[in-house]
Symmetry: C2
Amino acid sequence: MTVSVPAAADALLKQRHIHPDRGNITRAMRNERTGHRSGVVWLTGLSGAGKSTLANAVEHELFNRGWQISVLDGDSVRAGLNSDLDFTPGAREENLRRAGQVAALFAEAGHLVLASFVSPHQRGREFVRKILHHDFHLVYVKADIEHCIERDPKGLYERAMQGGIEHFTGLGQSYEAPEDADLVIDTSRFDVTAGAQQLLEFVQTRFAL
Amino acid sequence: MTVSVPAAADALLKQRHIHPDRGNITRAMRNERTGHRSGVVWLTGLSGAGKSTLANAVEHELFNRGWQISVLDGDSVRAGLNSDLDFTPGAREENLRRAGQVAALFAEAGHLVLASFVSPHQRGREFVRKILHHDFHLVYVKADIEHCIERDPKGLYERAMQGGIEHFTGLGQSYEAPEDADLVIDTSRFDVTAGAQQLLEFVQTRFAL
């Protein structure tokens, strides 16, 4: 056993030289295989504007065309990774920071990430843009607050109006519409099929190889 | 515009019925496409034992066979997601918790994750096992501390011995060898090719469909 040790160490070092510890399988290799660039399409907008609906429709369509694509949203991170965070301003910012960092890891692993987060403030979105740099593509899913309240898919507006949720965006807390969006989808004007088509074309134009 | 709103809302609701918000593209659909189950192989062991070397060798091999596989390690999370954490006991536990939660998100997205973390304490590994449940597969990359110090691929032992790193595992801090490992790879006894072959067979046996 003691005899084999230097040989083993030497083999380890040689192997390290051939396959260095980081970036053995590179992002470029992953993208070449899937046929699309990886990156993050960040969907911002009021709760009920249709972000997740649009994201899921496009995920479905592009997965079926062979893309490595997934949706990251508040529900998927709040339940696990960010279960230690509440909804105070500082915690909401940390929630966005971690979501941005997780999206960055997914982009490195070859995914096209559709990140669906209310992300109501310019400051928070800028923060995520700084994390993701050129991987950050901003889509504003625009809808009148009245229509969001009417849709209220998760019953959150009702709960908020009954006092069950403090600082709910659109009611107690303002939503700052982005002026730097790469695409605006107005779900008050277009039905979901037309909206999903707009998002699909945007994603294909920016990410297909 | 006001005329089209109820129709848009109605279409959104109908679409939601067809493609519900969560789990549109399921883990099962992803696994069926890649031909392998997703999950997490958690490599524990001293710094310099060969965890990353083995992980990278297997990542390379299985990626080339079409697997959706990636390595998650301390370097990839410490630089971004966990850049707010230091190396105190509480912060190291939070580092592991977040790594486990990120691995869980990757498993949901169809990845076979090779997670390479020293994770020196049974308590911390148990914590990650609780997060990942049956997705957690533990591999102990075993090596004598003397050989790790001799290899010292990142120069960390040298820095630690010169006083640059407090509580370094194997020196100031103990490493608790796991008794619940699904596989033990002894890199003091086997060279990297033999070790990588053991890990490769383990992963294929457990995850190939």
